[in-house]
Amino acid sequence: MPDSRMHAEHYPGPLHNPPVRSAEVQRSASHAHHPKLQHHFDDMDQQLEASTLGMWVFLVTEIMFFGGLFMAYLMYRWANPTAFQEASAHLNKFWGAVNTIVLIVSSLTMAMAVRSAQTSARPRTQVAWLLATMSFGTAFLGVKVVEYSDKFQHHLVPGPHFQWPGQYPAGAEIFYSLYFCMTGLHAIHMIIGLGLMTVIAIMAGRGKFNGAYYTPVEISGLYWHFVDIVWIFLFPLLYLIGAHYGAGH
């Protein structure tokens, strides 16, 4: 309901009357400030809520960012269903599955890192969970390097040197273009995540985080889980759709 009616009695009358003050000023309360409270926030709750909402909004933009690629995947798979199956069958399902497990476990250790900060666990414990997360992330990227170099050796990188042994070279090249764009973009997000973790781990080692202040751990965790979830979609869409290729044809 518009305010004008509720507060019609405040109507100031003819023009250029002194303005009606719509706000009274509250002198800042004299309670003690947490050293990590930034000046423009009223209290730690507001700061945590703002940062968390900020990260969620950022993740929404990330969904739209990857969304463009998923849209392209959807359209081209619809246009070239058999070629996509044939191309997918050449991906290594074993390494894909290993990486999926690695990432899921890293999400668990990340959740434990957030929890350890929230419950004011010892800095050493917090760092341990963060390092565990980072090592799983690094393992994921290591597997990715193995897979990529395999693709280079077999001329499966799109471009002038692309060679396809199967029936659908054009559709397969589009599939591999999408494969490299999607997993590449995902890997870049992993690397950014590792960078974040490094900073967070150093801060945790210095004992910055406890039940009163754990915002950076919390929002880095949100980011890490998001990157994990993207992979959960990439794995079946890229690795598993060719599982039965050739079997029933």
């Binding site: 004008s4 023009l15 509250q26 703002a50 559709g171």
Partner: protein, 533 residues
């Protein structure tokens, strides 16, 4: 005597370039969008000079292509999209919601640097030879044929997009989490509502254009084959992804201007807005429906006729919330105590020009008619009526309205009125003839045309020179007023709202302590809304 204003709180280049104060960052944006506006305007002048005669005598076709491309890229991505949000929104949203700053001051500063970095890439593209794809970067021309600096320009757009995303993110979190006690959603100024809707488009649309231009760059540099027809890729997919952002982007430009107009008409009619909640929700409706209309850019691109029908229908739907706003502004002005100060002149200009731009948009949303005028000057005239007649009028109106607050100085009202008049006349003379030329069949993006269309083009070029004077004037008298203008009181217009209760210019912290809001910011004479549920 009193706390120093944000302008005096620190001196020297460093205190500006490393500031985290939203008001100073707004002024950084003001300086940079003005610079980009001048550059984009110079490209436009060359275009209008070339089109003075039917023969292509001033520029080669290739240079001409680069001129309209750079004009489009600079004006859309570096002027129109950041103009009102990053300057006026940045400055006033925190004050209007009763906060000391945006939720993330550091990110606010970073987003300005990102914007400048994107601008440098675009300048690098321009200086190293230019881009000739049109601001739309359509594939396969941009990926396979164009031998200009597409990648540099695409990266410029990509990078600047993040500036826009971060600004939108900052606004959303600020509006959700930083409102002062008592500042409920329905006490918010309509300027804030329109920026909330704008921010939704920024965060949902911009990432899609980012990935799209990234794919164009990947296709050019790494020879990935996403849009390549030789591999079975679909160039039209690019158009879908491009317009999924770029149509809503038009609402990024116009919604903030609508918010400005909602504030101005209340102040200068001395009346509360007619139908506050309708105006507020129509902003959200425009943002949401605006995401579902992109297909009207593809009526002749081989899109299925059924998809076309649906896109056409939804495009018509956008007219409803837009019309609600126009009717409600008119109803606000109706029987108000109207003062014709310069911001109000711009607001009148906006309402008239936006209405013409909006109604001609309906022509283009109609599939049959669109086939006749597709890619003609009719389209060019239509979107300039929205983006120049609407967005820039709103921007200038807002700049004049809040200038005394931002700088603490009054500008020459005499020159401001002359400028507003020149802009209105010059604008109409520039763009109205283009409707006619376009309807008669003049296609866009050609540097020559049949001689019988010359009369319309001469009118248009003449109007452009008047428009240029109209835009140059504020640059001069506003700059002059910064140093020599009469000092402004806290509320020179007799306006209402939190931003008019703090000193002009405001102190760095905006408020002493946290304000407690006891009623809505719209405290003029009540509009006669009785009877509307």
């Amino acid at each position: 005597m009193e706390t120093p204003s944000y302008l005096n709180d620190g001196h020297g280049l460093k205190s500006w370039l490393l500031t985290k104060d939203h008001k100073r960052i707004a002024l950084l944006y003001l300086a940079s969008v003005t610079a980009f506006f001048v550059v984009g305007g110079l490209f436009a002048m060359l275009i209008r000079l070339e089109l003075l005669t039917p023969a292509g005598d001033l520029l080669t076709s290739e240079t001409y292509n680069k001129m309209f491309t750079m004009h489009g890229v600079v004006m859309v991505f570096f002027f129109l999209i950041p103009s009102i949000p990053a300057v006026l929104g940045n400055f006033f949203i925190p004050i209007m919601v009763g906060a000391k700053d945006l939720a993330f001051p550091r990110i606010n500063l970073i987003s300005w640097y990102i914007y400048i970095l994107g601008g440098l890439f675009t300048f690098a593209a321009a200086l190293s030879g230019g881009v000739d794809t049109g601001w739309t970067f359509y594939t396969p021309y941009s990926t396979a044929a164009a031998n200009s600096h597409v990648v540099l320009a695409a990266l410029g757009v990509f990078i600047t997009g993040f500036s826009s995303i971060l600004t939108g993110l900052n606004f959303i979190v600020t509006i959700h989490r930083m409102r002062a006690p008592g500042m409920t959603w329905f006490r918010l100024p309509l300027f804030v509502w329109s920026h909330y809707a704008t921010s939704l488009i920024m965060i949902l649309g911009t990432p899609v254009i980012a990935i799209t231009v990234l794919l164009v760059a990947a296709e050019r540099v790494l020879h990935m084959g996403i849009f390549d027809p030789a591999l079975g890729g679909d160039p039209v997919l690019f158009q879908h992804l491009f317009w999924f952002y770029s149509h809503p982007a038009v609402y990024i430009m116009i919604l903030p201007a609508m918010g400005v107009i909602s504030e101005i008409v209340q102040t200068f009619s001395r009346k509360n807005i007619f139908g506050y909640s309708f105006v507020a929700f129509s902003s959200l409706a425009i943002a949401i429906i605006g995401f579902l209309v992109w297909g009207h850019h593809l009526f002749i691109a081989g899109q299925s006729v059924y998809a076309g029908l649906i896109f056409s229908f939804i495009s018509f739907l956008v007219a409803i919330p837009s019309a609600i706003k126009v009717f409600n502004w008119t109803a606000t002005i109706y029987r108000g105590s109207v003062a014709l100060d310069s911001p109000m002149l711009y607001a009148f200009g906006f309402i008239g020009l936006f209405t013409i731009g909006g109604l001609t948009g309906l022509f283009l949303a109609a599939m049959g008619l669109d086939i006749h005028v597709h890619d003609t000057y009719f389209v060019v005239a239509h979107f300039h009526y929205i983006m120049v007649g609407g967005a820039i009028m709103g921007y200038l109106g807002g700049l004049h309205y809040w200038w005394p607050k931002m700088t603490g100085r009054l500008y020459s009202e005499f020159w401001a009125k002359i400028a507003a008049g020149l802009v209105f006349i010059g604008f109409n003379l520039t763009f109205f003839p283009q409707f006619v030329a376009g309807y008669l069949g003049m296609p866009r993006r050609y540097h020559e045309y049949p001689p019988e269309l010359q009369v319309w083009n001469v009118m248009s070029s003449a109007g452009a020179s008047i428009l240029a004077v109209g835009y140059a004037l504020p640059l001069m008298y506003l700059t002059y007023s910064m140093f020599a203008g009469v000092r402004s009181s806290a509320d020179p217009w007799g306006a209402k709202g939190l931003e008019w209760e703090v000193p002009s210019p405001p102190p760095t912290a905006n408020f002493e302590g946290t304000p407690i809001v006891t009623h809505g910011t719209h405290q003029y004479a009540p509009s006669k809304e009785v009877g509307i549920a």
